[in-house]
């Protein structure tokens, strides 16, 4: 994961909410209270939010309309990451069709 693919947070992180950790596909990722799951993933350089028939998709409209950022969040599938705020310990699995999981 190179820095060049990470979305950049504007201003000092102290401007944001409390620092916390979310778990994305098993990896701990730092995020800040007030951020959306989609934003936290972009800031961590994670741009594959789901895989559909081998085709990667990520947050596109960022306002909850395109459903390209669907994930399983704390066990609930089909949740829009752009409309969900992070919380400490949130467990997130990016979305895969069954056949994409086998690969």
């Amino acid at each position: 994961m190179t820095d060049s693919v990470k979305a950049m947070r504007i201003g000092p992180v102290s401007d944001r909410g409390a620092s916390l950790e979310i778990i994305v596909d098993g990896d701990p990722i730092q995020a800040y209270s007030g951020e959306t799951v989609a934003a936290a993933l972009m800031a961590a350089g994670r741009w594959t939010h789901q895989i559909h028939n081998g085709r990667p998709l990520a947050a596109f409209c960022n306002i909850g309309v395109c459903y390209s950022c669907l994930m399983t969040i704390n066990g609930v599938s089909g949740v829009r990451a752009c409309q969900t705020h992070v919380a400490d310990g949130l467990i997130i699995e990016t979305r895969r069709l069954a056949k994409d999981r086998l690969k």
Binding site: S4, V5, A7, M8, R9, I10, G11, S14, D15, R16, G17, A18, Y32, S33, G34, E35, T36, A39, M42, A43, W47, T48, H49, H52, N53, R55, P56, L57, A58, A59, F60, C61, N62, I63, G64, V65, C66, Y67, S68, L70, V76, S77, G78, C82, Q83, H85
Partner: protein
């Protein structure tokens, strides 16, 4: 079952204005909105958990929004706000089914005012579903709301005021731009000038957006557009191309630019969904971005007791939305018997006048920035039309060739069958049908069914007593 005299869906400029007008005239009103705080897309506040709050210098529009939002949030015993809530169904007239977090409940209303707002409009091209390609509005929201710049370099392409506004904000936030591509010509915007002088705040806002671009003139290219995005797991480069005056890509003018993120958008389309579920008549108009509900001068739809106001009723922007919201609210209060006929007449006339004035600007924007047909040539047979299911233009054209010249009969190709429930592909496919020669008036929207939003089954288990019959 909760009972209200009026229910407003959406707390953007139209919804807040409608609710304030209703409560002012003693109508017991409920407002339903998906966000945690009111404002809609345009006045969305920075997350409450962030320590930074407002930007240093507010524009006229932002001040207008703050004033409206503050008034809306004032203690008001006639106003009940359901935040983080969405309407997922309406199984009978005068009744809505609402999801709030993990509970569902029914709301009964005498008058319903739908203010669902707008979605952005896109013209697909190969690679537009790659991660890192986002809508311009989506990037603007990342910037304003999440204070995040999506990539090391950003390329913006499309047409209309949002493109320029987002470019200006990105530059001011220190983003490194790979280019700002406007399909229209700068000079074509001249007819807007007279309206900018007439409408308070517009001129100042336009100048504020133009300055960062004037300082970075090399970034701005008119009559230019993106025609392909390249990359494996994420966008890495884009092919850009010059356009002729019909917005037709000019042969051999392609150029590849490196970029870490792309923003695309050609203005907006009405986000009308609930009005369709409620059975209101909708028609297709390319200039308006897609399907929009038919409403009268008071924003009343063709179904009894239902109004649609703001961008959901046809794209007009925040100023027009606020006026339409007030008109709808006032008319609803009048038809509930809270205002005398004479009083209604004197209150509504100035609103109808200013609606007409503000709408002139929107109509000019429509004329200048509506994508011209030749630009749809960027859609190749392999280009994905439905992001969710990966349905390509070629698959749709093949079906159309078999005589399937309406949206519903294209469903076997999985059109509109993905999780977004056709929010993206429907209007694009309607344009493809139009370009195949189908009369726009004959293009009927897909049928919508509840739930309007994906919902976990557990919600229904938990709320057995409220489950619809």
């Amino acid at each position: 079952m909760k009972q209200f005299e009026a229910v407003v869906v959406g707390a953007g400029p139209a919804g807040m204005a409608a609710a304030l007008e209703l409560s002012k005239h003693e109508v017991n009103t409920a407002v339903i909105d998906e966000a945690e705080a009111p404002g809609g897309q345009i006045y969305r506040p920075i997350p409450a958990a962030f320590k930074v709050t407002a930007t240093k210098r507010m524009t006229h529009r932002q001040r207008t929004g703050r004033r409206l939002t503050q008034t809306f949030l004032q203690p008001n015993d006639k106003l009940t706000i359901f935040a983080q809530s969405a309407v997922w169904g309406s199984f009978e007239p005068h009744s809505l089914d609402v999801l709030q977090n993990d509970r569902i409940f029914k709301l009964a209303y005498d008058k319903l005012i739908i203010c669902e707002g707008a979605n952005e409009r896109f013209i697909p091209f190969p690679g537009w579903t790659l991660p890192g390609v986002m809508s311009i509005g989506g990037i603007q929201k990342l910037l304003r709301h999440q204070r995040l710049i999506p990539g090391k370099q950003i390329l913006l392409a499309g047409s209309g005021p949002l493109l320029i506004a987002a470019a200006a904000e990105l530059i001011q936030s220190g983003a490194n731009m790979a280019g700002v591509l406007e399909a229209a010509k700068l000079l074509e915007g001249l007819p807007l000038l007279s309206e900018m002088f007439r409408q308070k705040g517009l001129l100042g806002e336009s100048i504020a957006h133009a300055i960062p671009l004037l300082k970075n003139r090399k970034l701005f290219r008119q009559r230019t557009c993106i025609v392909e995005a390249h990359g494996k797991d994420r966008v890495e480069a884009a092919t850009i191309c010059q356009l002729d005056d019909d917005w037709r890509p000019v042969a051999a003018s392609e150029k590849v630019v490196k970029t870490g993120a792309v923003g695309i958008g050609f203005g907006f389309k009405p986000g009308a969904r609930l009005s369709r579920l409620c059975g209101c008549k909708h028609i297709f108009d390319s200039k308006k971005g897609g399907f929009f509900p038919v409403v009268d001068a008071y924003q009343a739809a063709d179904r009894a007791d239902i109004y649609v106001a703001g961008d959901a009723a046809g794209i007009g922007g925040a100023a027009l939305a606020e006026i339409q919201g007030r008109i709808a609210g006032l008319h609803a209060a009048y038809s509930l018997g809270r205002i005398s006929k004479n009083r209604f007449g004197s209150l509504i006339q100035p609103l109808l006048n200013s609606k007409e004035k503000v709408a002139r600007y929107s109509r000019k924007l429509e004329q200048i920035y509506t994508p011209r047909d030749a630009l749809y040539q960027t859609i190749t047979p392999e280009t994905i039309i439905c992001r969710c299911e990966g349905v390509t233009a070629g698959e749709l054209w093949e079906q159309m060739g078999k005589g399937r010249l309406d949206l519903t009969s294209l469903k076997p190709a999985r059109l509109g069958m993905g999780p977004c429930q056709s929010r993206g592909c429907e209007s694009i496919t309607a344009e493809l049908l139009r370009l195949e020669g189908v009369d726009p008036h004959m293009i009927k929207p897909l049928g919508l069914r509840p739930p309007l939003i994906p919902m976990p089954i557990s919600v229904f288990e938990k709320n057995n007593d409220e489950v619809c019959g």
